[in-house]
Assembly symmetry: C2
């Protein structure tokens, strides 16, 4: 075997034949000539497993062994690599990956939830077993961001990484901006079009983006994957009105995942925020993802592409397989897993930056003075104020942007404003990311 290894086929056990799994088979077949040009070893799917054997997947599975229990792929002699595209942080996906590693098989996975929760432990196990744990497809789909950061930009001290990591949210926010419609309305349409799941919470509440961010953070800063350290909020509270005000103020609203090194530790945040309308990231629309990496020598690198879907995700899975076929195996999170320490997380409330704050108030004399007084008391300095139209004694929006302040201070402002009688709703608060 060892002697033939450079030309022997790399044999794949495919756990999951949904959209991505079927895509992997399709890429391997349709681009076999291209792949063989780059890669001395053929890549063959020898065994597959999925829940429902009877389902028509539009893919010819003849000649490929069918395994009812995906975990059994790990034990097969005709499998060198287990590709896990089942999904989910626990259950079968986790079992398959753990068993594969234990059996000395390489693993390629597109499963961000699994890595966000168990990435460090799995990386340790993989390195002990001297097998690959590859997951390019787990973050930003078809964009080779893991490879770029782990290899292409590896000579740099990474200071910050941020991006649009969830295509569903970006699609919804783009639609809201383009049509002026509200979140619930656009979400419903996205669900009908298949851009959002029936249960959309993983996407719209920022959890999926946070899974991906925690992985990026680990690769960028060489620390353990710390999903619990991500502060997460989603886009449910973004209203059409805020999007319109953003436009007026020279911003766009995006759901960003952002990790950076601060004096107090590593800050990991996923939230809707305002970004300058002229920035590259502001113009990444629809289902596209983007990742911006800053390194101390290279400066800023931006990668944009499709973050999900059959083709892009399968493209990333097969690229990982080609790396394995070429014996290009690296520690999963850049540094050897044994050196991945849990990083100090920046304390909550320490973000320093500007904020957008929209209040619904009763339009009567003295309201602005009262609000301004609260800001003054908390040392929050106003940068701009917009009050459109007048409707005496009616609810009207009042929009403020602040100069740099702390998250804690703006939270105190919001709490105190909530106690003012003329303020009718809790403050709508969005961080402004200047991205400088």
């Amino acid at each position: 075997m060892a002697a033939d290894r450079k030309s022997a086929p790399l044999r794949i056990g495919l756990a999951g034949i949904g959209t991505v799994g079927a895509g992997v088979i399709e890429v391997l077949r349709e681009n076999a000539d291209i792949i063989s040009k780059h890669c001395p070893r053929p890549i063959l799917v020898t065994a597959v497993s999925a829940r429902d054997r009877g389902r028509d997947r539009g893919i010819d599975l003849s000649g490929i062994a069918w395994v009812d229990d995906a975990a059994a792929l790990a034990a097969r002699d005709d499998v060198d690599v287990v590709v896990e595209v089942i999904g989910g942080s626990e259950g079968k996906a986790k079992e398959v990956v753990e068993k594969a590693i234990a059996a000395g098989k390489h693993v390629v996975t597109a499963n961000k939830a699994l890595l966000a929760h168990h990435g460090t432990a799995l990386a340790l196990a993989a390195e002990e077993a001297e097998v690959a744990l590859a997951y390019e497809a787990a973050v930003a789909g078809g964009i080779p961001v893991i490879k770029a950061m782990r290899e292409g930009l590896a000579a740099n001290r990474i200071t910050r990484v941020y991006g649009i990591l969830n295509g569903t949210c970006n699609y919804i926010l783009t639609q809201m901006r383009e049509t002026g419609r509200e979140f619930a309305d656009v979400l419903e349409e996205a669900q009908k079009l298949g851009y959002a799941e029936a249960d959309p919470s993983f996407d719209v509440d920022g959890i999926d983006a946070a899974h991906k961010l925690s992985i990026l953070t680990s690769v960028a800063f060489g620390c353990a994957v710390d999903f619990a350290g991500v502060r997460i909020s989603g886009i449910r509270n973004v209203s059409a009105m805020d999007i319109a005000y953003a436009e007026e103020l020279g911003f766009r609203i995006k759901l960003l995942g952002l990790a950076r090194q601060t004096p107090g530790g590593i800050e990991q945040r996923v939230h809707a925020c305002m970004v300058p309308a002229a920035s590259t990231i502001a113009k990444v629309d629809g289902v596209y993802n983007a990742v911006v990496t800053s390194g101390n020598f290279v400066g800023e690198n931006i990668a944009i592409g499709r973050g999900a879907g059959r083709g892009p995700t399968a493209s990333a899975v097969v690229a990982d397989l080609m790396d394995i076929a070429r014996d290009r195996i690296l520690p999963a999170f850049s540094a050897p897993a044994a050196t991945l320490a849990r990083a100090v997380q920046a304390p909550v409330g320490q973000r320093v930056g500007s904020y957008y704050l929209r209040l619904m108030v009763v339009d009567k004399p003295g309201v602005i003075a009262e609000i301004a007084g609260v800001m003054r008391d908390e040392n929050v300095s106003l940068e701009s104020m917009i009050q459109r139209g007048r409707s005496p004694d009616e609810p009207v929006p009042l929009v403020f942007t602040t100069h740099e302040t702390t998250e804690a201070a703006i939270a105190r402002v919001a709490a105190r404003l909530d106690e003012i009688k003329s303020v009718l709703e809790p403050a709508h608060l969005l961080p402004i990311e200047t991205l400088e």
Copy 2:
């Protein structure tokens, strides 16, 4: 030696200590901790060579051997990799690289001219000698585009690659647009600021971009590097007036390098052209580079970053060194060099697309009819026409955009228009790239 190889230092002989060479030393020193985290072998510069030993480069070279003749680096026992950052397609740079390969040393180079002219031969020699020929820094500076295409997107059939490959041109075009000034004026300023060379022709005539494009073409399509197959024009003929009209028509003017697979062969072009103002590439301004790659499964991938300068270029050189230190050595142009055939180049004149055409004409009755008649005769269909203001019997600009036509047809139109007495200058012609 073999037993120690996994932890023994990788020893570098540095040929050239200009901006990039000094940057390489700086990155290796300043980021030594980061590099050692990723890389089991330390990377040490053991010997350097440059023309002028006396020059102060702001870099401490103590403890590093000085070699007067860079080619002698290849013969040294204390050198595993020769880093060539001398530049130029012939002479010393070529000699150093050839001797290094012949002596069984790995080569890392930032030299696009060398690879554009001798890339295939050097790749063959390197593969025979079983050494690396790595050149991430040669194309798009700090952006890891070679790695992305050769590895990250390797599962795809690449259909097109294009980009902004020359920061000097992009800076000049950006300045022209922002200030309304003419080319010569902005070039002079760029030279004063150090953004353009004293002899700017390599940059502004498109040669540097063509060097890079020919390399990208080889990696993208798995063919021999064919610099002679690139059709090249630069930006000297772009006028402030064309830039203003572009804006009015919803375009921006960029110098693009573009390679794609057409039914008639591979098309490689470097030219100033109009791109939709709303496209991502249109908004890549100043000294930034961008590369857009289309693959049959991944779709479009865009990478943006600094395409030149000390830090970004050194970052790419050191990434290549880290790959070598980790034994990650691949054929230089994706496919093994022996399989790199010269691709059929698409015949000249076969581009199909729209064009922008500006004429300076004497403003008198019948001119437009005469011009339209020529277009009709050549089967070129007009899409729009702009004639601003009236100045009877004075020279005025007349701007047309066409529907899809062929390069040959529009060239015939231009030649015939040149014979019309009221047409005062040769037609100013720019392709419109819709990038669809």
